[in-house]
C-alpha cells in the first residue's frame, strides 16, 4: 500500500516536470507547418537578419541565447531565451504565440510566416 503510494507520488512528480508543450502539435496549428531537419539552422540564419535596418532578433536577445538580452529601445533587461538557461522558456503555448506575434511585429512590422515561426522556435529549443 505504502509502496503504491510512493510510486504514484513519483509518477506525479515526474509528470509535473514533463515538457508541457507538444511542439509538433503546436506547429500543426500554424497552417499545418512541420519542423524539418534544417529548421533550427534556418532559425539561426534568420536570427541576425535585419529586414528593417537595425532590427533583428539578435538586436534585443543577443547571439548567445544563454545570456541576458537588452531591449534596444528601452534598455530593459531580457532574461535568457534558451530553455537550458531559463527553464520557464517555451513551456506555455499561449506565451509562445503571444510573443511571436508581438516580436515579429516589432522586428519585421508584420507577423511571421509559419515557416519563420517554426525556424525560430526550433533554433531556441536547440540553443
Amino acid at each position: 500500500m505504502n509502496k503504491n503510494y510512493l510510486l504514484l507520488l513519483a509518477l506525479f512528480s515526474f509528470e509535473s516536470h514533463a515538457q508541457s508543450v507538444d511542439f509538433n502539435q503546436l506547429y500543426q496549428t500554424w497552417s499545418g507547418e512541420k519542423a524539418t531537419v534544417s529548421s533550427a539552422a534556418k532559425g539561426k540564419e534568420l536570427w541576425g537578419y535585419e529586414l528593417i535596418p537595425g532590427k533583428s532578433c539578435s538586436t534585443c536577445h543577443g547571439d548567445n541565447l544563454s545570456q541576458t538580452g537588452s531591449h534596444v529601445k528601452t534598455n530593459k533587461l531580457i532574461k535568457p531565451l534558451s530553455p537550458k538557461a531559463n527553464s520557464k522558456r517555451l513551456t506555455k503555448v499561449r506565451k509562445i504565440n503571444k510573443w511571436l506575434k508581438r516580436n515579429c511585429k516589432f522586428t519585421y512590422k508584420r507577423e511571421c510566416t509559419p515557416e519563420e515561426k517554426v525556424s525560430f522556435i526550433e533554433f531556441i529549443r536547440n540553443n
Binding site: 528601452t74 534598455n75 530593459k76 503571444k98 506575434k101
Partner: protein, 188 residues
C-alpha cells in the same frame, strides 16, 4: 492658570494648522497617513504584460484618464511606434482595471498627488515624462546624461532611480551614470 491653559491649547491649534499647510512635512505625513513615493506594483499580470519590455511604470504615475487613453485601441496599435494590441480580452480588461483603480488621481501617495496636482483637470498625457511635475523635477539634467547609452531615454526610470521598482523616487536613491553622482552638471 486659565491663561496658561489657553496658550497651551492655542499652541497646539496653531501647530496643527501650520503642519497641515506644510502637508509634505514628514510629521504631517506621519499623522495624516500619506505615504511617500508611489504605490508599488503588486500585479503579476501587469509586470508580465508591460514590464517585459519596459520599466513597469507604477499606475500612480499617471491619472486614470491617461491610462484610459493609453489603453484605447488606437494607442495600443501604435504604442510609441509598436503594435501591442491585446488578443486576450480578459487580460486587457484586468490590466485596464488595475491601471485606472490605482491611478495617480486615485492615490494618496505623495508623488502621485504631486503629479495629479501639476496637471490640468482634462490633461491626459501619454508619457509620465510629459507631466509638469516630472518635467520640473528633471529640467536641470543635461541632455548628454540622458542620451548616454547607460540611460538611453528619460523614460528609463531605473537607470538612475535605483529604488524605482519600490516606488521610491527620492533624491537619496538617485545615481546618474557618469555624472560623478550629483556634482555640477553644467560643467560643459
Amino acid at each position: 492658570m486659565l491663561r496658561k491653559y489657553i496658550s497651551v491649547v492655542l499652541f497646539f491649534v496653531v501647530s496643527f494648522f501650520a503642519l497641515q499647510s506644510q502637508s509634505d512635512s514628514s510629521l504631517w505625513r506621519y499623522f495624516g497617513g500619506e505615504s511617500k513615493g508611489v504605490a508599488v506594483v503588486q500585479n503579476d499580470l501587469y509586470q508580465e504584460e508591460c514590464g517585459a519590455c519596459h520599466f513597469a511604470f507604477q499606475p500612480g504615475l499617471l491619472p486614470a484618464r491617461s491610462w484610459n487613453r493609453l489603453m484605447s485601441r488606437s494607442e495600443l496599435t501604435d504604442h510609441f511606434g509598436e503594435d501591442i494590441a491585446f488578443d486576450d480580452q480578459v487580460v486587457f480588461n484586468d490590466l485596464l482595471k488595475y491601471l485606472t483603480v490605482n491611478a495617480a488621481d486615485q492615490s494618496s501617495y505623495k508623488r502621485s498627488r504631486k503629479i495629479t496636482r501639476s496637471l490640468g483637470a482634462n490633461d491626459a498625457p501619454l508619457r509620465v515624462t510629459d507631466t509638469p511635475y516630472i518635467i520640473r523635477k528633471h529640467r536641470e539634467i543635461p541632455n548628454r546624461l540622458i542620451v548616454q547609452k547607460e540611460v538611453g531615454s528619460i523614460a528609463n526610470c531605473e537607470a538612475c532611480h535605483k529604488s524605482a521598482d519600490k516606488g521610491s523616487f527620492d533624491d537619496d536613491n538617485v545615481r546618474i551614470p557618469n555624472s560623478g553622482f550629483f556634482k555640477s552638471w553644467d560643467d560643459d
